[in-house]
Amino acid sequence: MEEKLDQIKQQALTALADIRQLDQLEEWQVKFLGRNSRVMGVFKSLGDLPQEERPRVGRWANQVKVTLENALQEKKAELRQEATNRQLQEETIDVTLPGRPVRGGGLHPTTQTMRELYRVFGDMGFQIYRSRQVETDLFNFQLLNFPPHHPARDMQDTFFVRSEADRGENPLLLRTHTSPGQIHAMREITDQYPEDPPPIRIILPGMCYRYEQITSRSEIQFNQIEGLAVGKGITFGDLKGTLSSFARRVFGQNAKTRFRASHFPFTEPSAEMDVGCFLCEGEGCSVCKGTGWLEILGCGMVHPTVLENGGYDPEMYSGFAFGLGPERITMMRHHIEDIRYFWTNDLRFLEQL
C-alpha cells in the first residue's frame, strides 16, 4: 500500500511540475486531491485493511495528501508570481520620456524677496506701512531735511508731475524713495497723541521712481523697503544691532557686517552697512568686485529736523531709519547682471526664480 501511495505521489508531483498555467491547477487538484482521486480512495478503503495496518497506512496517506497540498500551494504561488512578472514586464514604460507638465505659477522675484524681508523685520516687531507714490515736494524732500535747492537733491533725480512753474516750491513728483511715508506715519500717530506719542517701528515698502536712463544698471522704477524705529532711548548701537541681526537672518548666521560713515539728509549720524560677501565668503569675486564686501543698505539716526517734522520732540525721542533695495538683493543672490530683467518680465527669466 505504501508503495502505491508513493507512486501516486510521484505521479502527481510530476504532473504538477509540468503545469504552466494557473487555470490547469484546478484540473490537477480535482485529479489528485479531489473526492474521487486515488489518495482519497486510499482513505476510503482504509476500512478494508487489517486493524493493525490502518493507523500506519492512514498516516502515510495523510502525509502524501499534505505533501500534495503543499506542493499545490507552492506551485500556485510560483505561477502567480510568474504571471505577475509577465504582466509587469508587459507594462514597463520608458521612464526617460518627458513627464506631464504641471502648471505651476510663480511669484515675481521682487515679491519673493520683499516677503522674506517682511517676515524678518516682522519678527522684530516692524509693521508694514504703505503710502502713496505721487507725492509733494514737501513730503518727499522738504520735511525730510532736503530744503529747496539743496545739493543733496542731486543724488535723487526726480520725475515731476506738476512742475515748479505750476506749484512754486511744492511741485508734485513721483516719490524718489519711500521716506515720505516716515512723515505720514509719524504724523498719523502724533496727530492723535500730540502730548506723549507712542513709539513707532515700521517698514515702508513700495515702488519709487528716479529720473534715469534705463540701462542694465539703472532703472526708472525700483522697489525700496525703508525702516523706521522711533522711541525713547534708541541708540546708534541699537541700529547696528538690529541691522546686523537682519543681515544674519537674510544672509546666514555667519554674515559679517560693517558700518561706514555716509551722508543722507534725513539721518545724522548716517552710515552705510556692508555685508561680507556671502558668495565668496570674503575671498573676492565678481559680485563684490573683489572687495569682499557688498553694499546692502543706507541707515542712520533719524535727523532731529525729521523727528520734529513728524511731531516727535527730538530732545526726548530718538530713532533710526534705514533703506534697502529688494531688487538689488535679488540680483546679488542670483548673480543677475541686468536690472531690466525685473520689469521686462521675460518668462524665461521669471520661471527660473
Partner: protein, 847 residues
Amino acid sequence: MKLPLSWLKEYVEIDIPLEELAHRLTLAGLEVEEIRYVGWSPPRSKGTQETKITGFGWDPEKIVVGAIKEVRPHPNADRLVLCRLDDGEEEHTVLTGAPNLFPYLDQGELDPPLKAAYAREGARIIDAYSESDQQEVAVIERREIRGVESYSMACSERELGISNDHEGIILLDEDAPTGVPLADYMGDAVFDIAITPNIARVANVVGVAREVAAITGADFQFPSLDVKMEGPEMEDLASVEIKEPELNPRFVLGLIADIERKPSPYWVQRRLKLAGIRPINNVVDATNYTMLEIGEPLHAFDYDLLVERAGGEAPTIITRRAEKGETLTTLDDVERELDDYSVLVTDTQGPLSIAGVMGGAETEVNEHTKKVLLEGASWNYINVRRTVKSQRLSSEAAYRFERGVHPALASQGVLRCLEWLRKWTGGEVARGLVDAYPQPFRDPCVKLTEEDVNKWLGIQLSPEEIAELLRRLDFSVEVKDEELEIEVPPHRLDIGEGMIGKADLLEEIARIYGYDRIPETNLAAELPAQKGNPALELEETLRDLLVRMGLQEVVTYRITSPASENRIFPAGKGWGEGEHVRLANPITDERTVLRRSLLTSLLDIVDANYRVREQITLFEIGPEFSPREEGNGLPREKDRWAVVMTGLRSEVHWQEGTPGNYDYYDLKGVVESIAGELHLGDLSFAPHQDPRFHPGKCARVQVGEEYLGVIGEIHPLVRENYRLPDTPVVMGELELDILVEHFSRLYEVEPLPSQPPVLEDLAIVVDERVPASGIADVIRETAGELLADLQLFDVYQGDQVGEGKKSLAYNLVYQHPRKTLTDKEVAAIRERIIKNLDKEFSAYLRR
C-alpha cells in the same frame, strides 16, 4: 576728487600703508574708490581689495632723471633729433621726435641743461602707440633708426602713465637731481575719493589732510599764508560794493603787477594733471592750484582792462543780482541770458562775471596781461546752484560754491594764491587786500553732554575723551563740569545750532571714534502696538491663490505713453486728452504718463513672451493712476489686480493631443475660485460692453451690488494692434479694495450630513437666448435649502432639441440635514422646478 599723495603729505604725516589709510578714510565717510600709483610700484594684491588699485611703477634702476646737454639734428631724418644726455653715470645719444626739443636744436651746449625722464635700455614703459584701451607695457630694445643706433629714450607722460599727454617729452624742473631714480624724485599715488554733499568741505587737499590727521592722530599743518607784499597799497587800486550781503557775504581783492605769463613749473603742472585739471599757464594754474589746495575758488581779472573800463580810474567792483534778461559772454564764448536769481560781479560799466560760476570773456587774463586782480569771495549756494541748473553750466568753482564755501576761506585763498603767483610769474604783490565783509559769519557754538553721547550713540565716553575727539577736527572745546561748549572751526558750514548741531557733532564723534567700535545692542525700547496691515495681508493672500491656480506674477512699468495705453483700443477709440497723469519732465517719448490700466501693461508682457511660450497666464497687482484729484489735491492711485490668459490650456505633451486654447470660461473660473476662496459672497457676471473687449464675450463682475471688475476676451482688432497670433486672449481687471471690504475670515462651516444624498440628473430644453444663470437661479430658488449642489455638466444644441433651442443638463444633489429624503419628496421638488422653469422660460424636460 583726485588727490596726489605727495601734495597731501605737505600738511600731514602719513606713516601707515596707503591701503590701510584708504580703508580708514572709507569707514570715516571719505570713500576712497581708487588708488592709482604713478611711479611708485603698486603693491602685489593679496586676497580682497577694498579699494581699486591701478597704476604703473617705474624701475628705479632703469628710469632716472637725465640731463640733456645738447640737441643736434639727426643726419638722415628732419623730424628726429639727437640729444646728448647725461644719466648721472655716462653720456648717451638719445633719439627723439619730441616737438618740444626742436626750439633747442643747434644751440650748442645747453646751460642749464634740460632735465628729462630718461629710460635706459631694457626699461619697461607704457606703449604710447598701442590701440588697446588697457595700458600695454613695452620694453625698450636696442635697434637702429634711420642709420643711428637707439637703445634708450626720453619719455612722455603717457609713456610713464602720468597722463595721456604724448605731445612731447617731459621737461622736468631745473633743480631735478641728475641720475636719481625718477620714482624717488616724483613717484606718487593718487587717491580718488567720492565726496558726498555734506563733506564738500574736504574737496581739497587741506580738507582731506585734516581728516587724515583726525583719523590717524598725526599732526596737521595748515599752509602758510605769508605773502611777500612790496607793491603799492591795495586800497588805492580798487574798491568793492556789495549790494546784497545775503547773496555775497564776503568779497576780497588782491593784486599782482609785472607778471610774466608762461607755463607753470613742471611739478605744479604734474600735480594739476594728477588731480584731473589741465594746466593752462602760471596765472590760471595758480588759481586752480590754490582752489585744489585749500578749497577757495578764485577768479583772475586783467586789471588794466578794468581800469580802462573805468576811464583810467581805480575800478569799483559791484556785486548784485542780475536783472532778468541781462546778458554776459562767458569765458567759453557763449552769450548767456541771466535770471534774477543769478548774481553778477560787475563794474560801473556792466557785468564782468557770473558770481561763483564763470568769468566773462572780456576781462579775462590774456597774453598781454601785466597786472592781475584776484577775486576771492563767498556766495549764497542756492543762487549759484540755480544758476548752474538754468545755464547748464558747471565749473570747478561752481561745484564748490553750490555746496557751500566758508567765508573765512576768501581771504586765505587770495593770500595763498598771491604768493604762488609771485613765485611763478615773478610779479610784485600790492600791499594789503580789499576785504568787504559786511556780515561776518558767526560760527555756531554747540553744547553737548556726556549723557547726550550715551543716549544717542550708546557709548560711554568721558567729557575729556569727547573733547579730544572733536579737537582732532579743529573744534575748540571747553569742558565745563558735565557740559562741553564746542565752537565750530571757521571752515565748516555743515554744523548747525542747538539740537541739530548736537546731532551733527554726534556724527563727528562717532566717525572719529570709529563706527566699528560702537557696540551692537538689541532694541530695548518699548514695542509699539502690533496692528498688522490687513490690506497688504489680503493682497498677499490673493497672490498666493493666483499662483496656486498656475498664474505667474509680473511687475511692470507704471510710466508709459498714451500711444502704448491706446493700443488696447480698436482704432478710433482710446483715452482722451487729460485722462492721464502726465510727467512734466519725461526722459523719452515712450515714458510720458502714468498708466490708467493694468491691462495694457499685461498685454505688453504677452507681446514680449508669445514667441517663446505657447501658454501664457499672468497676473499683476498694482496701482493705476488717474488725474482726478483726491481731496488732498493729488492724483488718485487705485490698486487693482489683473489677469491675462492666452494660448494652450496646458503644455503640449507627447501622450496627449493638442490641448485647447484658453477662453472666457477659464478666466471666469479663476475669478470664481478667488471669490470662493476669499468667501466674498454673492458673485455675479452680466454681459457687458467695453470697446477693448469682444462685444459678445465680455462680462461685468459684481460682488453683491458692487462693481468688482470686467473680464472678457479682448477685441480681435486689439489683438491685431499687438500683432498677436490668431488665438483668443482673455483678460480681466478687478478692484482690490472690494476684496478687502468683502473678505471675511468669519465664514461658517456646514456640519457634515448624517444621511446619504439623493442624486438626480435633469436635462432642460430652452430657447437658446436664455442665459444659463437664469435657469440655475430658478432651480436653486425652487429647490431651496434641500439642494446641496448643482452642477451643469452638458450643453447641447442640434437636431435632437430642434432649431433655436438648447439643452442644459444638470446634476442635482439633494440633501436633508437629518433624514433620508424619500423618492416621493424628491419627485415633488422636481415637479415644482419643471413648473417654474416652464412658467419663467417656457422650458421643458428633455425626453
